[in-house]
Structures are given as structure tokens and as C-alpha cells.
Amino acid sequence: MSNEALVNNSPVTEKPRTFGEFISALFKNVYVLYAISIISFLLIWDVLSVMQVLGRFLPRPVEVLYQLYDMLLNPLAGKTLMMHLWFSLRRVLIAFAIAVVIGVPIGLAMGFSPYFNAFVKPVFDLFKPMPPIAWISLAILWFGIGEMSKIFIIIIGAVVPCIINSYNGIRLVDPEMYDCIRMLGGNKRQEVIEVTFPAAFPAIFAGIQISLSMAWTTVLAAELVGAREGMGFIIITGMNQSKPAMIISGMVVIALTAWAISMLVTHAERWVCPWKTKLE
């Protein structure tokens, strides 16, 4: 097969020649499609708002933007938007760190020892399906409405994926890896260091990732009840003051933060498991 035949058979590499071809190439560009998607979403939202399809409680996108701008500069309940965000983030980070420190070792121990697993599993299975929000009332009775009760609820939510993934990560290591390291002369300790931990690491890391997004979800629920600051507080204040723009701008900030966190974690993963993500 000659080179010429190859080129003629691949229209993808050809430059558009007519205006029609240019337009059709434009609509096949993913970034153009992304832009169209977002613009049309905002347009539909704006039209729905102006036509008052959902009554008067759907603000226009510009109103949300103005509300965001307002909260950035003017404090709400004594704190600006960034300070509220920081309070939520701080709760998440503290609780998340505690959840990892508790959850990962428990999961690892369950994976390593079938006896420990049998000892812990029934109780864990009982608590596992319980949504963390169900603990809110109890947490307030136990710890009051201060930081402690919020952090407690977040830990409850964030610890579960840490345990499950660490446990499964250890359990699902390819047994042939162990055969291999034994044939190479590895002893029991070397098996754990050279095979078990690195092989289970991606699963454990994925658990930590899920745990972080669980923590971020739970903090809002915790802040909806009896908080004086934080993103949940902004939303609940918006409801109490009948300011839907405030609610939506809170939601937007929450979504953006969650997105930023997940980007950070993805980069961290690329850095700590280069063998997993280097190609594709």
C-alpha cells in the first residue's frame, strides 16, 4: 500500500474547502459543542425564569451572578462568601483526615486477617447502609450544635468508603502475583511490601477519593441544621429569607468546589500511581 492511497482514504485529515464543510467541521468540534451546551442551558434557564414557569422563585442567571458578586464583597452573618466556603472546607478536611486515619487501617486489617474481618464485619454491615444524615439529630444531642457534631457526621459518611475499598483492595490482589514473588524468593514480609500494598494502592486511593466527595456532600447536610457559617448556612439562609438567588449561588459555589477538589485528586493520582494513568 502506497502512502498516497493512505492519505486519500482518510478524509479526517483533509482541510475543509467550502463554507458548508467548514460549518459541518465546526459542529463536530467537541469544544464548540461544549460551548453550545452551556449557552443553551443558560438560555433555557433565562427564558423559564422570565416566563415565570416556576413562579417567582426562579431567578435569572444574571441575578445569581450579581448575588455571588454581592456575597463576595458584603458579609452575610458577619462573613463573606470566601469565609463561609473556608468554614465548610475546614470541616470537610478535618473530618476527612480523621476518617482516612481510622478507616484505611480498619479496612486493611479486615483484608489481611479473616478473623478480624469476621469480628468486625457484622457490625460494619449493620452501620454501612445507614445514611450519615440519619445521625444528625443524635449527633446534636450528643455533641451540641458546635463543630464537634458536624465533624462527627462527616466522619460517619467518609469512613465507610475508606474501609470498603481498603478491604477489597487487599482481598482482590491477583493471586498469581503472590506466586510470582514467592518464586523470585520473597518472604512473607516482602510479599506484603512488594505486592500487597502496591497492588491494593489504586483501590485504596479510589476509596479515599469517594470518601472526600462523601465528606463534601455530608457537610452540607450537617450545616443545614444549626450552623452559623458555611455553605449549608448560605443555602438555608436563602430559603429563610426567600432569596432563591442566594440558594442557587450557594449551589454553584458548592459544585465548583467539588469539581476543583476532584481535579486535584485526579492529578494527585497521576502523581502517585504513574503506572495506572500514563497511557489512556
Partner: protein, 258 residues
């Protein structure tokens, strides 16, 4: 090499080996009364279709399975555990995905506590022997199947094992790569001679590689059906009439059991 069996002590000896696995209450009989001795530096191929117990036999010699009856011996000593005096190459490669080519190959010496500089030098030698110079820093997922298996071979060779055990190592490769890897296997073996036990289900591959071919019966429990001596000069030619004759002979006699 043909008539030294009586003079030299065998490198590997399997005496009356049988193996069954318990599946609940059921006994699954996989191997039956295998007697086999392998001479030093001999290239022996164990040939059998799927489910003939050939991999099980290899894993008994590796020390990964214990035989139900009988024993396997290496240099006259009973094999009880896996160990670095036997190098194994797996069908699924089973490389450590979190290690580079260098990291995989140097694993054996590293486990023995060989200092970093020394084990790097050792590993480099075998990486070059299998033709992977320039890929030391690549991760397994960046390599093709044939290259992965080269890493597998180097990783086993680097421990300077007395015996190389290869478990259908080219079963996942395409035909073209497979031919090439067979040639490479002979080249590597002739550069650094070892006793090799090579398991395959491919008759052509067996005739190309083996000094002797041990054919297992095609049903469980696996029994030894016949041993063929291959007296063709190396490098062998897949289209040589003598090669094709032996291939036909084994094919015909094997088909009778299927």
C-alpha cells in the same frame, strides 16, 4: 545429549506424581502417575491440549502446589517450596504493573538483598539479553505482549535459576510475534544454557523448541502418553521436511486421544 541419561544424575526428577484437587466433596483428579526425569541443560516441552494437567505439573515442580502422591526432586532434593532456584514465566505475564522494566527485572536480586548498583548491573545484562535495551524505564502497560513476555523471561533469568519453567508463555501472542519469540527463546537459551521445562498446547512450537517432547493424554487425569526425541539440528526450519514429518506424526498420534 541423547545417551547421557544413565550417566548423569537428572536435574529434575518427578517420581510417581499424582494430584487431585478437592472441590467440595468431589475429588477432581488432575494428574496421574507422572514419572519424568529431565537432564541438565535439556529443553523439554510438555505438550497437551487444554485441561490436560500440564500447568499443574509445572506448578508442582515450581513448588507452588504439593503433589497428592509422589515427589518432585531438583538435584536430588525434594521440592517443597517455591524458590528462586527455579525461574517461572507465566502465560499472563504477571509483571508488576507499578514497576518499570528495570524494577521488574531487578526484583529477584532485590529480594535477596543485593545492593542497588550490583543488581542494576545484573538486571541490565538480562534486559539486553532479551533485547529490551532502551526500555528500562517503560512501564508494562506501555509494552506490547511480546515485549512484556521478554520482561518476564529476563525477570526469571536474572536469578540465575537452575531450571526455567515456562507456562504457555506465548499463548496470548499473535502468530507472527509467536514465531519471533520462539526464535528468541532458542537464541536466549543458547546464549545462557539452562534446563528448561516449557509447557504448550501448540505442536509446531513444541517441535521447534524441544530436545524432547512429553505428550500428555488429552483428558483428565493427565497421564504421560509418549515421549518424542527431537533430533533436528538448530536453528530449526518450520518448513524442513523432517520438521513437518515429526509434526505430522505427533499430530496424528495426538488426535487419536481427543
Amino acid at each position: 545429549m541423547e545417551d547421557k541419561a544413565g550417566i548423569k544424575k537428572p536435574k529434575i526428577e518427578c517420581v510417581n506424581i499424582s494430584k487431585h484437587f478437592m472441590e467440595g466433596q468431589e475429588k477432581n483428579h488432575v494428574l496421574d502417575t507422572i514419572d519424568l526425569s529431565v537432564r541438565e541443560n535439556e529443553f523439554i516441552v510438555i505438550l497437551g491440549p487444554g485441561q490436560s494437567g500440564k500447568s499443574t505439573l509445572l506448578k508442582i515442580i515450581a513448588g507452588l502446589y504439593k503433589p497428592s502422591t509422589g515427589n518432585a526432586y531438583l538435584d536430588g532434593k525434594e521440592i517443597t517450596h517455591p524458590g528462586p532456584d527455579r525461574g517461572i514465566v507465566f502465560q499472563r505475564y504477571t509483571l508488576f504493573p507499578w514497576k518499570t522494566v528495570m524494577g521488574n527485572v531487578e526484583m529477584g536480586p532485590k529480594l535477596r538483598g543485593v545492593p542497588r548498583k550490583e543488581r542494576r548491573r545484573l538486571a541490565q545484562h538480562y534486559i539486553e539479553l532479551v533485547g529490551l535495551k532502551g526500555f528500562e524505564k517503560a512501564y508494562p502497560h506501555q509494552l506490547s505482549g511480546g515485549m512484556k513476555q521478554r520482561v518476564g523471561i529476563a525477570r526469571a533469568y536474572v536469578n540465575n535459576p537452575k531450571v526455567m519453567l515456562l507456562d504457555e508463555p506465548f499463548g496470548q501472542l499473535d502468530a507472527q510475534t509467536r514465531y519471533f519469540m520462539e526464535e528468541e527463546t532458542v537464541r536466549i537459551w543458547e546464549t545462557e544454557k539452562r534446563t528448561v521445562i516449557f509447557v504448550t498446547n501448540n505442536i509446531e512450537e513444541a517441535v521447534y523448541l524441544g530436545d524432547r517432547i512429553v505428550v500428555l493424554e488429552g483428558k483428565l487425569p493427565g497421564r504421560m502418553k509418549k515421549i518424542y526425541d527431537v533430533n533436528l539440528p538448530r536453528p530449526r526450519d518450520y518448513t524442513d521436511p523432517a520438521f513437518l514429518d515429526l509434526r505430522h506424526l505427533i499430530t496424528e498420534e495426538t488426535e487419536l486421544t481427543l
